[in-house]
Symmetry: C2
Subunit: 493 residues, 2 copies
């Protein structure tokens, strides 16, 4: 077989694997949005069967033969081969039985977790969580091969990141974040919280308008209600979900903008890459940089909140906020809350650091599932100065561990770090950004991101993707500078 033929056969084979992976994503979307509740068990079997197919394809010995023979002709080919090799090597380390078992157990676990959270009942969830952790420890051990087990899982979401590299960043971030938090919470001026009732239908309409404002492509996506906002899919079918809390429209609006950021990344990738390994976001950290920059650096900016204040006033009338300046402060109000997804920009990374430490313990075996609640609550009190009042405000709040996402949380903080760098670059590239945002025009910023980052998909490695876009080596500095300037300004410090 010639190198050309090997490459063509491999890519053809891979294309079908990618298509089947999209089908798997669609099943998850379906489960979270429209699936009848009585279908949970059957769905777990369906997903396990499809996972079995995907695993068998990814471990097919022909892949190694093709990889042996194929020669890249350009950097795109090179990236494709690199990602296929990576996926093949990873898959061959995990027994098919284990991969299927994880798919089956985590599909079912999600529903059990949701019920336990609704009932505020840790005991209801514990057997399932214990089973998930047992399987993930087994998977981590299979993947690690001499390396650290937690690192082996992190690598799935953020290739080449490690617990050590993440710890180093977190160690530099924590003191400045804690100092900022203390300053802000002790400030004389405190923004007014939003209060009132914001009807469901009006929120949904506004959320759809916000999605459009941030450039969401409705011909290749849709928006549905779900318990958790998420974005799902690659290529030409990238869907987002939202939820509505009638007392808190920011919940719906900012999670929508966040998910549009994720979706925009997938939808912004060069269409020639569709259904190939480089046709998806390169890592979860880079993904989160897009969602966070849409949500925070752009969506919670003084300029954009000014525009949003106008639109909300038109739709909801007077809701007790005097002017755009006060609204900006309200939209960025810092408070010590229980829930990560509702956390302000100052607290958010502190939530992540806590989960990072706990989940490392769970995977390495230094923390057992039955001790998690106690460990969570002790750590939360230490880090946030508040005692957790109920499990749904504590260890039951996040879906991640139930679906087997260990090693995923730190990518959220990496995303924030990257978003800080990218925003610095955009500020330089788009001098009139604030004028644009003030009139609800996000195209300068989102266009820059599409052109400089999103369109490349998986062409470059994660760190390289961000470095190329920014023109400088990423670090936590720009994020921390931005946070200090922003919140010292808002809190008049």
């Amino acid at each position: 077989m010639s190198a050309d033929v090997a490459f063509a056969e491999l890519m053809d084979y891979q294309r079908q694997t990618e298509a089947l992976a999209q089908v798997m994503g669609r099943l998850s979307w379906d489960q979270e949005t429209v699936m009848p509740r009585g279908a949970a068990e059957q769905r777990a079997e369906e997903m396990a069967a499809l996972e079995g197919v995907l695993h068998a394809r990814r471990t097919d010995p022909r892949i190694a033969e093709w990889l042996e023979l194929a020669e890249p002709e350009d950097e795109e080919d090179e990236a494709q081969l690199r990602l296929i090799r990576r996926s093949h090597e990873r898959a061959t380390k995990v027994p098919g039985r284990l991969a299927q078992e994880i798919a089956r157990v985590t599909s079912a676990a999600q529903g059990i977790w949701a019920e336990a959270r609704a009932a505020d009942d840790v005991a209801m969830f514990l057997p399932t969580l214990t089973e998930v952790i047992r399987l993930k420890r087994e998977e981590a051990a299979a993947l690690a091969v001499g390396r650290d087990r937690y690192d082996a899982l992190v690598d799935d979401y953020e290739p080449s990141a490690t617990a050590a590299s993440i710890s180093a960043i977190f160690d530099r971030m924590r003191p400045r974040l804690v100092a900022l938090r203390e300053a802000v919470l002790g400030a004389e001026y405190q923004p007014k919280p939003l209060s009132g009732h914001f009807g469901l239908e009006a929120q949904v309409r506004m959320a759809r308008d916000l999605a459009a404002t941030f450039g969401y492509d409705w011909t290749r996506g849709r928006m549905d209600m779900a318990v958790h906002p998420f974005s799902s899919g690659s290529g030409s079918d990238v869907r987002i979900t939202m939820r509505v809390v009638e007392a808190d429209p920011f919940n719906c609006f900012y999670s929508t903008i966040h998910e549009v950021g994720h979706a925009a990344y997938e939808l912004g990738i060069d269409p020639d890459y569709a259904l190939t390994p480089i046709g998806a976001g390169v890592s979860m950290g880079v993904h989160e940089s897009q969602s966070r920059i849409y949500e925070n650096q752009l969506g919670r900016s003084r300029a954009f909140t000014g525009w949003l204040f106008g639109r909300m006033s038109e739709r909801f009338g007077d809701f007790g906020i005097a002017d755009a300046e006060a609204f900006y402060a309200t939209a960025n109000r810092v408070q010590s809350g229980y829930i990560r997804t509702e956390a302000d920009e100052v607290h958010y990374n502190l939530h992540i650091m806590m989960r990072f430490d706990l989940e490392r313990g769970l995977i390495r075996g230094t923390l057992e599932p039955e001790d998690l609640e106690e460990a969570w609550n002790a750590r939360f009190l230490e880090d946030f100065g508040v005692a957790v009042d109920r499990p749904s405000h504590g260890m039951l709040q996040d879906v991640h561990w139930s679906v087997g996402l260990f090693g995923y949380f730190p990518t959220y903080a990496l995303g924030n770090v990257y978003a800080g760098c990218l925003m610095k670059a955009i500020r330089e590239a788009v001098p009139d950004l604030d004028e644009q945002l003030a009139r609800g025009d996000t195209s300068g910023a989102t266009g820059w991101l599409r052109e400089n980052l999103q369109r490349h998909g998986g062409l470059y490695r994660p760190h390289e993707t961000v470095t190329r876009a920014c023109g400088f080596e990423p670090s936590e500095e720009p994020l921390l500078d931005y946070l200090e300037a922003k919140f010292r300004g808002i809190y008049r410090l």
Copy 2:
């Protein structure tokens, strides 16, 4: 390998194939209800990839080995092995490339057909239809192996039925149907058509109530809007769709009851059979017997329409029909219309006979796609006495041929024939049926169907399934007797 081990391994393997087949069905559901329109091309690739997986599984040589060794212990095992053998033999006759090509082309064809129908443009659809027919002729030739090619396709939907056996039934039905049609259309008394405006939301609410009235299990299903009403899925996830025409609420209500009949069959099957070959409706003809008996023999009966008249009067006020007797006639009004799905019980089978003849010609090669429109229109004029005024009223009206369903249409008429037999049996088994239906209680009839037919799934062969339920050999006689009595009564003949 022992017989026991072979059977267990085969069933385990098959269970995963069945789960993946459910995933394929879910992709179709998604495509018809919620898929963004820009995703059509990618979806075609996804479905082709999954079809490739299913085909490879169904042709796996291990199946023949397992079948060789496995010994059935009871009639359930026997049925499982028979159906697996059948599926394996069928799949091995069709090259994988062809199976994938059909999946890809028909997934894309559906959208093209829908656009062509909306634009009333045959030329827009003809290249696609020609391609579908080319592929289906190829598939039929591969399947036939000496038999008639059309029979080979019919066998997919109605095992052991043939063009000859169907023709024999149609030949006996046609004269009595034509005579009844002439008598009814020439009658002095003519029921009033329904007129007025029936709001979308009120129709949707009523349709949901009707679904519940016929016992639809909402914990294992859901109801969405779609261009075409259909039922989708087996086991614990069986979804239905509806459409609303504001001038014609019967369209929504009766198609809903029809789809509930299909769904009730799947949901009524013994849960122990889930994700096995006998865990789905045994044939399309038997399936259609359930949907038609729910819709017509029950839903359009004098007793049930009396109840429905009451409910509709409560919800829509006075809509110009004097009383329950007149409403019964209106709900059963006979008229020579273009559209099969809107046809009354007298005309319906005449539509099927026409499609049966045309599609046999298309598969056997005696009719070419480019001559179809002329052939359709000539035949319609001959059979219905009306000239087709536009393609969407003619050859573009049905989705079937675009998605490759050739040999499927005759099962609709077989379903009617079976429904006639089953109704005769129910009348004997449930003496107070009309009293029950008159108070909106369908449980006597639907419970009888579940107990005597639905729960068996694919345990018995199609014809045997109906014979066992009825207690007599099925024929077209009960249907024709029922139609003549009903319509001579309504038209006062």
